[in-house]
Amino acid sequence: MAASKTSRPDLHSEPLPRQGWVAPHIAAEFPGLGIAWVELESRRTNSPEPVRRRLRDLSDRFYGSHAIHMRERPIPWAYRVFFRQIGLDPDHTRTPVEQLALDRLHDGAFVSRGMPADAVTIATVETGVALRVFDVGKLRGELCIRDSAPGEALPDKPAELAQGTLTIADGRGPLALLFGGPAADREIDSEATRIAIVAVQVKGVPQAAVDEALWIASAAIAA
């Protein structure tokens, strides 16, 4: 009895997802598009054994046929459709979950890349929801999805974004391309102590799946 009490998760200590906003004209074009995130304490570290074991378990139950049939499942399909709708070819610029599936087949396993990348991998493979990570210390204000204005560029990139490029932005400006940007683990450096795990929702992806993805990633980081 006592053991079950101590192993019960403390729901009040879990970070609550926050909902970002989508520029009204973009939301009118893409109903169902949304952004949500959780903030939590985390550093770039090697993954603990429970997380690496979970990656191995995921690898063991993921085969080539899964990768092929994945695109028939509702959530991966919803991202494929959205990619087509925003002018990207999902067979060239892969959706996050399909990229992970491809890496799994190429590498023979979901290779551990340390935290928080492994947490994102686990949550993405389990739910299919597109996640990425940002350093909270470098964010200003609320996160949003909007198109770029003339003269705007991504941080540390001199090249100006083409006007109308869909981006994830904060109060200062664009942070990353909506999809197809740098890998999740490259967006935070070793000095980051607090991270934001960000989920991008598209039409056809239920809110419950987004919440679950954020919860799984948070739980993996807290492991």
């Binding site: 046929s65 695109r71 028939e72 399909w77 459709v81 070819d89 198109d147 490029t165 197809g180």
Partner: protein, 164 residues
């Protein structure tokens, strides 16, 4: 999944009038075609590898214009048409091979040394049927032919168990 195929409600269109409505309709069509192409791709696996790529309109994500969405829709429709034709040809080939296999099983001596793989008849695995003489050269001289069935490679699960 069905909600992606539903038409967007009109109250979401606040500006742009007919063109926005047309873009929404094209996006719905793109969603339906993508679903169809994905189903064909899954149906073909592992017998056939279908090309599902449609050249991207942009290098970066952005709101596609009407004509760009039309290009994506038309390209997807073309891919589906090619995929259906390839699948139909593959089905016909496999049907012919299955009929040949039946004839070979019924009369091995009339199909000397013929070998038909499981892939040839659209079945998974790497086994095959081989028409061979019983007792080697003696069987060849006597006309004692039979079809030998190979069960193919060991299962990957068994190999993994051996490695452990």
């Amino acid at each position: 999944m069905p909600d992606l195929l539903d038409r967007d409600r009109l109250q979401t269109f606040r500006v742009g009038g007919d063109e926005r409505l047309a873009r929404a309709e094209l996006r719905r069509q793109v969603g339906r075609l993508e679903h169809e192409l994905s189903s064909l791709c899954a149906e073909a696996f592992p017998r056939l590898t279908l090309d599902t790529g449609v050249p991207a309109s942009f290098a970066v994500p952005r709101v596609a214009r009407l004509e760009e969405l039309e290009q994506v829709r038309d390209a997807l429709a073309e891919r589906i048409s090619v995929a259906r034709e390839a699948l139909r040809e593959q089905d016909e080939l496999e049907t012919r091979n299955r009929e040949l296999l039946e004839r070979m099983l019924a009369a091995p001596a009339e199909h000397k040394w013929m070998r038909i793989s499981r892939a040839d008849v659209g079945e998974p695995g790497c086994g095959h049927w081989h028409s061979r003489p019983r007792l080697g050269p003696l069987g060849m001289l006597m006309g004692w032919w039979r079809v030998k069935v190979s069960s193919g490679c060991p299962l990957s699960g068994r190999l993994a168990a051996v490695e452990r």
